[in-house]
């Protein structure tokens, strides 16, 4: 009977119910979108790292694998590393951040194409002129450009020579010499990718490199990709926790306000129930059941909204913020929404329970 009573209450005031559900959905969407963006961004990074075709990555002293960095490794290292045991090929890249999460990669075109298997051109062709730039399909979609059109990157007008299939190192490419020249980093690279002579020899090669270049971060690509996860990036983890906290506070406040309004609106009805002999537990059960239903409704609506957000981001910024749907977070976001809803309903519930039945019955 309580469920029916609650259900009829919810149906009887559809606008208030919808508004409450929408407001509870906001933190759910916020959490799911943020987690989706983090996961999407990192899985996109991992996919692009795999696309390089390397077995080992070699970085400058004191640099972090998961951060953008300038070119701080002398390019002589490329030839030096190529001569190390079990190393078949080496290619250096310059990574230059261009704002937000985007960066341009300067590549040694023949070496990079050899290692990665080469670009698949969807439009246009490879580098031919000094002002040519190659971008992937996502970036072309984001910047709304096609091969042959002009594109401003790093405050310089380039011509889009080709649009390639995504999934190889970066979204934006320049020949390494040109990028180095434009960024005053001639003779330097950001990191060096190495290809082993066979897969079985990767670990042996890494061990030998680590022995010889003790102070340099050296990873197998398997390690590098496995490190590309939310839990391995403390700042991102903290950021997600902050947003979770905000989600809880918003959910809590919204439901509390909504249930407070519901209790106020229903003062007389609560008085009627009390006059019929309803116990405190009955009234509290009714309020909490309503909060639970709204919390669950908000979760479902929040999940639907996260799909809409994903679709929108995919249309607007597919390269910079590649979104993902992370289903494993649905129960967490739902738990937060429902928990906040129940917590938020406690105070109004206590008000309802304590309401004087005579005053409640006199309420207009």
């Amino acid at each position: 009977m309580i469920t029916k009573l609650v259900w009829e209450n919810i149906r009887f005031r559809p606008v208030r119910t919808l508004l409450s559900v929408l407001l509870i959905a906001v933190p759910v969407t916020l959490i799911l979108t943020l987690v989706g963006l983090s996961e999407g961004f990192l899985s996109d990074s991992a996919r692009r790292a795999r696309g390089v075709g390397a077995d080992i990555v070699f970085r400058a002293k004191g640099s972090s694998l998961l951060s953008f960095s300038g070119a701080s490794l002398q390019s002589e290292f490329v030839d030096l590393l190529a001569k190390q045991p079990h190393i078949k090929q080496a290619t250096g890249v310059v990574i230059y951040p261009i704002g937000g999460f985007d960066s341009v990669s300067g590549i040694d075109v023949p070496a990079f194409e050899k290692m990665s298997g080469g670009f698949v051109y969807l439009q246009g062709h490879g580098f031919q002129k000094p002002d040519d730039i190659v971008i992937d399909e996502y970036y072309a979609e984001q910047r709304k450009v096609r091969a042959g059109e002009k594109l401003k990157v790093m405050n310089i007008d380039w011509t889009v020579a080709g649009v390639v299939e995504p999934g190889k190192l970066s979204h934006v490419f320049l020949p390494i010499q040109i990028l180095a020249e434009k960024t005053a980093s001639e003779g330097m690279v950001s990191q060096i990718y190495l290809k082993a002579d066979s897969e079985e020899n990767v670990d042996t090669a890494v061990a030998a490199l680590k022995k010889k270049f003790e102070e340099y971060p050296i990873y197998t690509m398997r390690e590098a990709i496995s490190l590309t996860s939310v839990s391995n990036i403390p700042l991102l983890k903290n950021f997600i926790n902050v947003v979770l906290g905000i989600g809880v506070v918003i959910g809590f406040s919204v439901v509390s306000l909504s249930m407070y309004m519901a209790v106020l609106q229903r003062t007389r009805e609560i008085g009627i129930l009390k006059s019929l002999g309803a116990t405190k537990a009955f009234i509290m059960n009714m309020i909490l059941t309503e909060a639970l239903i709204m919390g669950l409704g908000g979760t479902v609506f929040g999940i639907i909204l996260s799909y809409i957000t994903k679709f929108t981001l995919q249309k607007l910024v597919p390269a910079s913020l590649p979104p993902a749907i992370v289903m494993s977070w649905w129960p967490i976001a739902g738990g937060i929404a429902v928990g906040a809803a129940l917590l938020g309903a406690l105070y109004p519930g206590m008000l309802a329970v304590r309401q004087d039945p005579i005053e409640a019955l006199a309420y207009e």
Binding site: K4, L5, F12, G271, L273, K274, S275, G277, T279, L361
Partner: protein
């Protein structure tokens, strides 16, 4: 004469209005035998509603003794008064006080659920619904019913739980004369046919005349008692 189902002795109730104490009841003594139809009349502020609320367990007394259905309710707390409302007394209000979001039938079922009863309408309840003339209106929400029908649903809800005492607070106050007569006749029939104990507050002397006895209240005291001529 049946044994008393309500016994009130030296009942006092003092309210705080801001910082001012207001004495709503000043030592009321009243005994109501089971099966009586008692009318309580008096001007506004005479204390009749307060007496009603204390007998019905909606508010505690300041002092005095009240026994309802054999239980001393002057000493019980909030939970005890809730139990009294759940098991022993039922209310019919001037403003009907039906839950607007539920159908008439569900309004009755809520009361039964709260009382811990099964939700099926048994033979007794179906006869009552027939007597009240609302058997065909149970699927309708209060807003779809006339005032008279709403009050009859409220009476059905009050009696569905088989209470020992029915407390009716100005039950005809919001009704036209035709519906008022119908409701009063129903209350009298319930009293005569089912032996239902009824206490009814009213301003209307004609309505009060439906009771076996009428007590007159003024300034928080019972000042007069009159009986219906046989």
């Amino acid at each position: 004469m049946n044994s008393p189902i309500i016994e009130v002795k030296k009942l006092r109730k003092v309210y705080l209005q801001g910082k001012v104490e207001v004495e709503a009841l000043r030592g009321v003594d009243l005994s109501v035998p089971a099966g009586e139809f008692l009318s309580i009349v008096g001007p506004s502020g005479s204390g009749k509603s307060t007496l009603f609320h204390i007998v019905g367990g909606l508010t505690p007394a300041t002092s005095g003794e009240i026994t309802v259905g054999g239980s001393n309710v002057s000493t019980v707390g909030d939970a005890g008064r809730t139990e009294l409302r759940r098991k022993c007394v039922s209310f019919v209000f001037q403003k009907f006080n039906l839950l607007p979001n539920l159908s008439a039938g569900d309004n009755i079922r809520v009361a039964m659920h709260i009382s811990g009863m099964k939700l099926e309408f048994d033979k007794r309840l179906q006869e009552l619904l027939g007597l009240l003339g609302i058997a065909g209106r149970l699927e309708h929400r209060p807003s779809e019913l006339s005032g008279g029908e709403q009050q009859r649903v409220a009476i059905a809800r009050a009696l569905a739980t088989n209470p020992a005492i029915l407390l009716a607070d100005e039950p005809t106050g919001n009704l036209d004369s035709k519906n008022s007569d119908a409701v009063l006749k129903i209350l009298r029939d319930l009293n005569e046919k089912l032996g239902q104990t009824i206490l009814m507050i009213t301003h209307n002397p004609d309505a009060a005349a439906y009771g076996h006895r009428t007590v007159h209240m003024s300034d928080g005291q019972i000042v007069d008692t009159s009986f219906r001529p046989e």
